[in-house]
Amino acid sequence: MVKGFGRMTLNFKYPFSVVGTTAGASIQCGDDPVYVWEHGLERYSKPWELAPDMVAELEGIEVIGGVDAFGRRVPIKRIVPVISGNDIGENISINEHMAPALRDGPNDPSYPFRDRLACINFGKALLMGGGANTTSIKMGPSDTLNFKIEFPTVAHGGDAVINSDLEIKAHIAFAKGADQMLNALRSSPVAEVATAAANNQIRQYEVLGDLEISDVIAPQVIDRSVPATMDWWSSLNMGLNADDPQIKRIITYTKNNQPTTPNQEMEMVRDGQYVQVPFQNFRWTATEKKFYRFTHVGVIPHRNMFQVKFDNGNSRYPMIFNCEPNDNPFVMPQQSLVADIRRGGPTELPRAYTLMKGIGSVKVTDNGVSIPAWAAGVRGFEIALWGYEYTLQ
């Protein structure tokens, strides 16, 4: 069998200028013959499929386009990986602002999810020296990879007609052949990974604690090892058969579906329809088994926006940030207008927003003038979060 090891990019192309779509639509590669993935001279209108003796990790994606005739990025409701036909986007909802092209403009090493030329916004691959806690998306032998693009309705600020091209550049690390996989893991600079691999194990390891509430809940350990064979690959974090304890990547955003009441906090929850759709619910209940940690934030504020609070039921001192157009600490990786400056977001929080055994939510306050809800031709605010969900055994 041919062996192989390395990184590759697959370009999933959606030439909507050729075959367009409409507001509210959901599109995948293969839905039309013009929607294809490309790698070198390979070009197919179907999902990408791993060889039977191959494992791979989706480390990250870049979203390139679409841009309308006026230089505005076409609104996207959700881009999500589809592994072997399964939408794995429980916590993944990437829109047009959240996954910029790494080479769109000057080389920007400050972009936080970057490893050399690879985009690693899901996580740096285990095969490439990623940590034992990585949340790269694992694909086992014969799994397939596709991407689903959902567009918002006009009522939620979407474009009625989508006719400009969109491309998703998928960054993949792969090993073809069991010994290649094992050699890569044994060569990892991460001690937990390399040591386990030396014993023919794949180990996932993370310690999660929060000093502020260490008297309430001690640091918790996620430690799971599986045999270092290809059959077990998809049971790792973010694999189709991932098992507890596990870590899931969160990349998502929220938009207000109600106008704010001046000078009052708006909690970004689905109850009461304060957000547009359920996945935008920014209220979490951390139990003794399930924790959350958010590390990066991006905000496109409305001009009437004043403050963002990361509320934490266990803390009397929640993180609060002024967040106005003139003073926005949380830059979104991409702005709505192509001509706007490239700002290198998202911003890493000064201290991770950690929820353990408690309830937390994101709350927004205006500057005394109401922020309107998103509607056709009207924009509110947008908050994106990058983080992790931890589930214990």
Binding site: G71, R303, D327, V331, Q335, L337, G377
Partner: protein, 258 residues
């Protein structure tokens, strides 16, 4: 400081971000607007806000102020009077009642100041209102250096008019170099459109030149490319218009965090 220079046509009311205003959109590729001067009308040389450069009236000469009824030649089926209530400029306008029996091609004339010289002017402007809608050329304006517009030098088509609406008309003079001694001004009923009433006011020759007109910006969408003017721009009276806009974009705002 960012700026944008772009051609602009008519600016009417439109809705952006749910607000109805006289919105203007910067051209594709422009930096977004972080801030722009909205405190008032800037001076044209202030370098802030919006300035429109367009053909405008540099100077003008009144040919007939329509403060007395036209009477050089009042043809049959025409009744001319002064209307002191329905007028635009001054204390009255000239009201012309045209009966159904009026014949196409008939000309109503008025004496203008002897030897009015127009060579330095480029256009004729006036106000007109008709009780019924007309199409371009139904009425014509004559200028002549012979009495009663007997052999008109200038014959200018009045554009289409909406019924019962005062319209400010600007017509390019065809041969201003020959208009050196105008003595007669005429309104020709060139097409038989039936009975109607026409009001006329304030005929003047004007010279157009490119002028810079500062405009007030009333509001803008922050970090976007829309700003609104405090009033409409009528492309018919701001010909070949260019708009120059000065503003601050996000990447040069000293308070910007990144």
């Amino acid at each position: 400081m960012a700026f944008a220079l772009f051609p602009i046509g008519a600016v009417g009311l439109s809705t952006v971000e749910g607000v109805s205003a006289y919105w203007v959109r910067l051209p594709t590729g422009s930096k977004p607007i972080r801030d722009i001067y909205t405190a008032g009308v800037p001076a044209a040389t202030d370098g802030k806000g919006a300035v429109m450069m367009a053909l405008g009236v540099l100077d003008s000469l009144v040919i007939d102020d329509c403060e007395d009824a036209w009477d050089e030649d009042v043809p049959a089926n025409f009744t001319v009077s002064l209307d002191t209530t329905d007028k635009v400029v001054g204390t009255s306008s000239v009201k012309v009642d045209i009966a159904a029996a009026a014949v196409a091609g008939t000309i109503l004339c008025e004496v203008v100041a002897p030897g009015t010289a127009l060579p330095k002017f480029t256009h004729l402007e006036f106000w007109i209102k008709c009780s019924i809608a007309t199409t371009a050329g139904d009425f014509k304006i004559h200028l002549d250096d012979t009495a009663k517009c007997a052999n008109a030098i200038e014959v200018l088509n009045v554009p289409a008019l909406a019924a019962n609406t005062w319209t400010h008309v600007r017509l390019a003079l065809a041969t201003p170099q020959l208009d050196s001694a105008i003595i007669s001004l005429g309104l020709e009923y060139d097409v038989d459109i039936g009975a109607c009433t026409v009001h006329l006011d304030d005929f003047r020759a004007v010279r157009l030149a490119t002028v810079a007109t500062p405009l007030q910006v009333s509001q803008f969408v922050q970090d976007d490319v829309y700003f609104a003017l405090s009033e409409a721009v009528d492309s018919a009276y701001h010909q070949n218009a260019l708009m120059l806009v000065y503003y601050t974009s996000p990447d040069e705002d000293p308070t910007c965090s990144n």
